[in-house]
Amino acid sequence: MTVLSVFESLEQGPIGTFVKDRGATFASIEAVHLLAFALLGGAVLASDLRLLNVVLRDVPSKTVTDNAYRWFTGALIVMLLTGFFMVSGIAVKCYHNFYFWVKMSALATGILFAYTIRKPLLSGDHSKLKPITLKLVALASISLWFIVAASGRWIGFS
């Protein structure tokens, strides 16, 4: 069994057929996907720009990052679910698209980074961390999610 055959069976399966055969289904799922991504992007920007001392300077950074994580997790779950449905409808096209794999790589790295590096680091007292560490973590997070968003849009144009 190859990766391509998995993608082919996904597109030809009941989910792929459901998404493809009904005109408004893909568009509706994509709308929810984009709304979830907007929420995720908002959570990422609010917490990372706070860590970079750009916004919400009068609120402790730990308060911002802790609250943003709840929205981040919720948005990520919705994004992954709707993303799976979207890919099912155009699985073979995605398989052959370079930017789809860029997006998947950045997404996997972003999730790993968020839950294994960023969250454990920021769960403690931020004042005990070096400012350069906080800024690097924020920049890395923004960079990763920007690549996820940009390559996601790029799939549609290539």
Binding site: K128, K130, A140
Partner: protein, 46 residues
């Protein structure tokens, strides 16, 4: 003390990984800049 060392090690690892991600992102966008310019031209009807 042990806790302090553990935290310090985590911070160093986090900073190194974050730095590597930022560097990789910059390299990625440098290699993609030609494609980005082409997309901007297309978006502007070029």
């Amino acid at each position: 003390m042990a806790e302090q060392n553990k935290t310090s090690k985590r911070e160093i690892v986090s900073a190194v990984i974050a730095g590597a991600i930022v560097l990789t992102s910059v390299i990625y966008w440098i290699t993609q800049i030609e494609g980005v310019m082409e997309m901007i031209k297309l978006a502007n009807g070029g």
